[in-house]
């Protein structure tokens, strides 16, 4: 119930952090909010020999809003996003999403970037950022490059990040005409979502991005004509969700999760259709 010994590094800049991770190689691990990594270290499921603590890297935090896009520093905490008045105006889906994550005492430490890189299948951020066509800025020894959020998560707890790279910033385009909502089902507020859906509706189409189904976020797209009345929408969503790869667990089997996925998809749709 206590972590094994590790070498603790506290870089002040992204460049330093990247260098320390590169030197540590496969034995290194970046620490963001620690709300998933530290439990794993306490149980010794994770045993990094070198821990690179990003919490002192000031350039990794912060929220920027301009005309057509929002930028989140990867180390921005969920609670900061939930409380941000600027985001509540500019992209309310982000603030609403952050408020769904964990409990207050988790949100005050957990970070948006840490959640994306951890890539838990029940996490909200990978799905929301996929739905919003966000881009993730990764920095490594070779410099910076961007990856679309929808291509970043490869599987449960597996992403496209290199072991000497860190996620620094998240770039999210604002589409003021798109209507968005997120809905999920969890046993208690703050528990892991058993199934959830993000909806983005534009004049041409409506897209649902699902999370909590066991794998990477999955998107289902229907044209605006397909999404006219709820009865036919429910039939179509049921068919499309039936084709998704879904993994059951002790909290609910695959078939049950598919049913819940359709329920949350419809709940989210009602918000954007209203």
């Amino acid at each position: 119930m206590k972590p094994v010994r590790f070498k603790y590094q506290a870089p002040a800049t992204v460049a330093e952090a990247v260098q320390q991770l590169a030197e540590a190689g496969i034995d290194g691990k970046a620490l963001a909010g620690g709300q998933s990594l530290v439990p794993m270290m306490n149980f010794r499921l994770a045993r990094p020999a070198v821990l690179v603590d990003l919490n002192g890297v000031a350039e990794l935090s912060g929220i920027t809003v301009d005309g057509d896009h929002v930028e989140l520093g990867a180390l921005t905490r969920h609670q900061t996003i939930a409380d941000s008045e600027r985001l509540q105006h500019a992209l309310p889906l982000l603030a609403r999403t952050a408020g769904l994550i964990g409990h207050w005492g988790i949100r005050t430490r957990g970070t948006v970037g840490g959640s994306v890189v951890h890539a838990d299948p029940s996490a909200e951020w990978p799905a929301v950022l996929t739905a919003l066509s966000a881009e993730l800025e990764l920095v490594g020894p070779q410099g910076a490059h961007r990856v679309p959020a929808g291509e970043f998560v490869l599987g449960p707890l597996t992403t496209a990040i290199g072991m000497d790279e860190i996620l620094t910033r998240i770039h999210i385009p604002r589409v003021p005409t798109a209507r968005t909502a997120i809905e999920e089902v969890a046993r208690r507020p703050g528990d892991f979502a058993l199934a959830g859906a993000v909806v983005v509706a534009s004049t041409e189409d409506t897209r649902w991005t699902f999370f909590g189904l066991g794998g990477p976020p999955e998107t289902v797209r229907l044209s605006a004509d397909d999404a006219r009345d709820e009865a036919s929408l429910k039939r179509q969503l049921t068919d499309r969700v039936a084709a998704l790869e879904v993994t059951g667990d002790m909290h609910g089997g695959a078939e049950w999760r598919r049913q819940v996925a359709v329920v949350v998809a419809l709940r989210a749709w009602r918000q954007v259709a209203a």
Partner: protein, 165 residues
């Protein structure tokens, strides 16, 4: 690997504590063992139960999910800072009066979370209280009396503020 120790200063309950720690030591353990603050209760050690909740710059955090070295430079508050046996904090007094505890194990985390909530939202709805306390597990009370205690604490703090004006 050789045992590496670092000296850090923790600002706890209004004064500085100089402690020598291994980087792997959890904040919860250091507060208990090095600072003697036994009101920090260690329950699950993986962030689920909320018993080890302390306030970091006024906001609740799980002290079992932070390393003590990370808390240097921040203001920490544990339940020891709230009241004394003779002069309970209004939140503690409300827990007493509303029977918001039985065994008491979860109580420091509950009280600190409630305190932080009332600092942020002096008159929270019952729904807000329930949602906020969902992160703290209690195996005795069934939660109703805890919710009652937080509602009562909000009244007490409002009365106190009027009395002081």
């Amino acid at each position: 690997m050789t045992e590496e120790r670092v000296e850090i200063t923790l600002a706890v309950n209004g004064h500085d504590e100089r402690v020598t720690v291994e980087p792997r030591w959890l904040l919860s353990d250091v507060l208990r063992r090095e600072c003697g603050l036994l009101g920090v209760h260690v329950g699950c050690e993986h962030g689920v139960c909320g018993a080890c909740t302390v306030l970091l710059d006024g906001e609740p955090v799980r002290s079992c999910l932070m390393f003590a070295v990370q808390a240097a430079g921040h203001q920490l508050t544990t339940v020891e800072a709230l009241g004394t046996a003779d002069h309970l904090d209004p939140v503690q007094q409300a827990f007493w009066e509303a029977h918001g505890l039985q065994c008491g194990f979860c109580t420091p985390g509950m009280v600190l979370t409630a305190r932080a909530l009332l600092d942020r939202d002096p008159h929270p709805s019952e729904e807000t209280i329930r949602e906020t306390l969902a992160g703290n597990l209690c195996r005795c009370t069934g939660y109703q009396f805890i919710v009652d205690a937080v509602l009562l604490a909000a009244d007490k703090r409002a009365e106190g503020a009027e009395g002081g004006a």
